[in-house]
């Protein structure tokens, strides 16, 4: 028997989306992502410093090179660098070629001809204007040309594209070489001797060049004191091709460099008639005047030699004069990745083990979704070697070293350039420009980021696994604990089992131990309460026996002494006392009934019996006992068909169960009718006992079968009720793995008690 500690089970509304302990832990652990972010930031910061370092290195390189060039005036002397100013078109710049040039009159092997050529028109007219009659002004425009100068190996190359309406070749038998379209070329050689040439072809094809030497005729001839004698000799050292184009003609020629000094001039003379006069002359300077020749600058082999020593620095190096013209260059920007590039090459030696393969195949493609590989090929703006521009160069030519960052034209690469001035006699005579791309640093940074990403991935993966495991373990433990705690006390508030205390020495372990202790203590207390009535009845039994026996002795003696009706009054008292003591005794018996039943059930062996016969017999029996009440027994067709319904259990206890339930139904019946309804489903036998009468209070439906619960009104009680009847019924039902429940029904107000006995223990025999 048990006094039930009534406590409403608190139902926690579980939201469909539960924010569990695991989710919380994962959320918290997401703060760990900050660490890789810091790593990423750190790498970027490092790159910044590396760039700064590279800048310094680059300036250092420029300075070193400039130092090698300081105060070496002779390097610049013959390079026409000392001119205070340069005039475009007159002062020429010979571009350095990397490929040999074929003398075929075609400009296709001249790189960047369009950009590098200079265009000459009427503004570049030379010679005596008075020669040209004004009437033929319209014809003046008929001549224009563009020219480009280049240098390869030991030759200076010149290319002219001439636009001329009327191409007049030298007549086959003409002695004069000037009465046709011709090119006049003049320069000072390295010994400062003036040389003049005329190229005057009889037909398109290989050039016919002539050197013109002027001699002043002896002073004897006073009449023509300024008459000049010209000797014309073929000049085979000037080689080239003359081809005719629809617009005019092209001239491509070369001159050995050893013949050429710093000064040069060329001019085209236009003749529109056979053996006609020169109508127009256009050129860079007047070739016939040695004093007004323009200058010519070609990349200096001496400086180049010095610069060549620097090309191992992985930089692209330029040396310019004060007019921004390139004197020497070395290295290409495409291989100029800076000093950091070396580290990249070291890492090229990669072991082809499994990890490397995995990294190559999976990780790197993933990383380069985010990272950019420095492009191996990019397009940079073309430097006009004749005129290098840029703030840093201007600054350097003003005497201030400067470095600057810029993007290449296609925005693919970042270029760092540094410029450092070259001083000669305390004057800036040029500048050294060193350029590098940031590829080295970027490669290095990518490498660092690769490693960082790998580490991050590893950390995240391991961290996630560890966190998940940890969180799972904790939540599992807590869930276990919660389940255990829930299972330890059943729906009726009884302690059903002991909790197993965790041995883990942490907070959850403490919680588990506390729970186990609490449940244990509660269990002990519950046990004490459950046994209390039993013990109480046992303890009370002796004093009651004392009273009872005493009363009996007294009554016997009274009867013996009186021998008749004399002491009627006394015997009445004794009788009342005996009635009282009997009632008390009955209460005690009832109190211990449940305890005894539990003990008995524990020792009861289950046997097979016919429950159908039992039910029929019982109902007949009840009809005898409760003569006023009408019992009806309805068996469903399935039950009716089978002769015997064998059940495995204790028939005496089933009878006891029916006794209690029927007794209950009879007592609460209004119209003295009790119906027993038997249904057989596939897995259980349902016995419904219904009576018409008052309803059960709503709150009592579930607790009706608990110990010491009675809803009988005082007036109904003819004998003491402790609310144990239905509790005993429940005990018996549970012993048979069955269930008992009570429900109100409304078609006619009343209560139905429903007993479900599992059919697994039923054996249907036909």
């Amino acid at each position: 028997m048990a006094w039930v500690i009534v406590g409403k089970r608190v139902k926690v509304n579980i939201l469909p989306l539960r924010f569990g302990l695991r989710a919380k832990l994962l959320l918290l652990s997401s703060f760990l992502f900050v660490i890789p972010w810091f790593g990423y930031q750190y790498v970027w910061e490092m790159e910044k410093y590396l760039r700064y370092g590279q800048e310094q290195t680059l300036v250092g390189t420029a300075r070193a090179l400039a130092t090698a060039l300081h105060e070496r005036a002779n390097l610049f002397n013959n390079q026409a660098s000392f001119l205070p100013s340069v005039e475009k078109g007159k002062d020429l710049y010979g571009y350095q070629f990397n490929e040999p040039i074929q003398l075929d009159g075609l400009k296709k092997d001249w790189p960047h001809y369009q950009q590098r050529a200079h265009y000459y028109n009427n503004n570049h007219q030379i010679g005596s204007i008075e020669l040209n009659p004004p009437i033929e002004n319209n014809k003046k425009t008929s001549l224009s040309f563009s020219a480009s100068v280049g240098k390869f190996d030991k030759y200076l190359y010149l290319f002219f594209t001439v636009l001329d309406e009327q191409l007049i070749f030298r007549s086959n038998n003409a002695r004069s070489i000037v009465n046709n379209d011709h090119l006049e070329l003049a320069f000072n050689d390295s010994n400062n001797n003036f040389k003049r040439f005329i190229i005057s072809n009889q037909k398109a094809g290989w050039l016919s060049a002539f050197r013109v030497e002027q001699e002043e005729v002896s002073e004897l001839n006073t009449l023509s004191s300024n008459r000049i004698k010209e000797t014309i000799t073929p000049a085979p050292e000037i080689q080239g091709q003359w081809i005719v184009t629809p617009q005019g003609y092209n001239l491509e020629l070369r001159v050995p460099l050893k013949d050429i000094g710093d000064n040069i001039a060329f001019a085209f003379h236009d003749v529109d008639q056979q053996n006609g006069q020169i109508l127009n002359s256009i050129g860079s300077a007047d070739p016939s005047m040695p004093d007004t020749l323009g200058t010519m600058l070609v990349p200096s082999p001496e400086i180049e030699r010095i610069v060549k020593g620097m090309r191992y620095t992985n930089s692209s190096i330029w040396v310019v004069d004060q007019h921004h013209r390139v004197l020497a260059s070395a290295g290409s920007l495409k291989t100029a990745g800076g000093v950091w590039q070396k580290s990249k090459f070291n890492n090229q030696i990669e072991q082809s083990n499994l990890w490397q393969k995995f990294k190559q195949k999976w990780l790197l493609p993933l990383y380069y979704q985010v990272l950019t590989k420095p492009p191996t090929d990019f397009i940079d703006k073309l430097y006009d070697a004749q005129n290098l521009t840029g703030d840093h160069i201007i600054s350097a030519l003003n005497g201030q070293s400067k470095s600057q960052w810029r993007l290449t034209t296609d925005q693919q690469a970042l270029v760092l350039s540094a410029a450092y001035p070259i001083f000669i006699n305390n004057e800036v005579k040029g500048a050294v420009i060193v350029e590098e791309t940031t590829h080295g640093i970027r490669t290095l940074r990518n490498h660092a980021l690769e490693r960082l990403f790998t580490a991050i991935l590893a950390i995240l993966f391991l961290g996630a696994v560890a966190f998940t495991l940890f969180a799972t373990r904790i939540s599992t433990r807590i869930r276990d604990l919660s389940n255990q705690a829930e299972l330890a006390i059943d729906e009726h508030g009884r302690i059903t089992g002991e909790m197993i205390a965790s041995t883990v020495n942490d907070e959850i372990g403490d919680l588990s131990r506390s729970f186990a202790l609490a449940v244990n203590r509660l269990g002990q207390y519950n046990h004490y309460l459950e046994n209390m009535s039993g013990r109480l009845s046992h303890e009370l039994r002796t004093p009651i026996a004392v009273v009872k026996t005493s009363l009996e002795v007294l009554s016997l003696q009274t009867a013996a002494v009186a021998g008749g009706t004399k002491n009627h009054k006394d015997s009445a008292y004794i009788e009342r006392a005996q009635t009282g003591i009997n009632t008390l005794n009955l209460i005690l018996t009832n109190m211990s009934e449940a305890t005894r039943l539990e003990q008995m059930l524990a020792n009861t062996e289950k046997t097979a019996f016919d429950i159908k016969a039992l039910l029929q017999g019982c109902i007949t029996g009840y009809q005898h006992i409760y003569t006023d009440t009408k019992f009806t027994l309805d068996l469903d067709s399935k039950t009716q068909q089978c002769q015997k319904l064998l059940m495995h259990g204790s028939p005496e206890h089933i009878v006891q169960l029916l006794d209690k339930v029927i007794n209950n139904a009879v007592e609460f019946s209004d119209d003295n009718q009790v119906s027993v309804n038997v249904k057989q489903t596939s897995n259980e036998l349902i016995i419904n006992i219904s009576n018409h009468g008052v309803h059960l209070p709503k709150a009592m439906e579930s607790s009706l079968f608990d110990s010491m619960v009675s809803i009988r009104s005082k007036s109904k009680q003819t004998q003491p009720h402790l609310g144990l009847g239905l509790y005993i019924a429940r005990l018996i039902c549970h012993f048979h793995q069955g269930q008992i429940s009570a429900k109100n029904h409304y078609n006619k107000d009343g209560v139905t008690l429903s007993i479900k006995l599992p059919l697994t223990s039923l054996q249907v025999k036909d």
């Binding site: 046992h538 039994r541 002796t542 009651i544 026996a545 004392v546 009872k548 026996t549 005493s550 009996e552 002795v553 016997l556 003696q557 013996a560 005794n585 018996t589 211990s592 009934e593 005894r596 039943l597 003990q599 008995m600 020792n603 016969a613 039992l614 039910l615 017999g617 019982c618 109902i619 007949t620 029996g621 009840y622 005898h624 028939p651 005496e652 009878v655 006891q656 029916l658 006794d659």
Partner: protein, 230 residues
Amino acid sequence: MSKSIVIVEDEAAIRENYAEVLRSQGYQVQTYANRSSATQAFNLRLPNLVILDIGLEDEFDGGFTLCQQLRTLSPTLPIIFLTARDNDFDTVSGLRIGADDYLTKDISLPHLTARISALFRRQDALKKPINNDHILNVGALAIDTMRMSVTWQMKTVDITITEFWLVHALAKHPGHVKDRSQLMSDSKIFVDDSTITSHIKRVRKKFLIHDKGFDCIETVYGMGYRWQES
């Protein structure tokens, strides 16, 4: 010579009440409160009947121990357990170690005296030759009402007074259903229904020892039991 009865009971009031009633019935009554004093007395002389309580002062099972000692002294001495313990387990243990009856303290004094006299009667009858007048034969069952003994298929069934009365009540009117209250009044016990059930179970077992196919005591569900002649 009047019969001598020993009551071993630690509760003085009950002891004296019982003693007084039994004395008034003409028995010689000795009372002891604990096991050691009772044992001393038994070593000197054995009474004709012993009434024992199970719990004796400090000894929880003192009555059982005493009963065992008495059985070694005399196998035939009638022993009655009169105790407040009413569970099945104690009842079975008490009867198994050789008590002739097991009564709870609910029992009324007239019932107690009836049992005592019945026990004496049975003891006396055992000494006399068998008198067929007192024998009730129902099939294979023979009930000697004088000796209060039962034989089944000519074999004596070892049975207590209560059980004898139960069998007697059932077999007197074979085929008639006796409900529990009838059985209770017939066998002069005052206990609840489940006690009858366990008594019937024990009786069945005792018959089953001799005859595996014994099924004469039939349960009529909801009503009671009846003796079914096979």
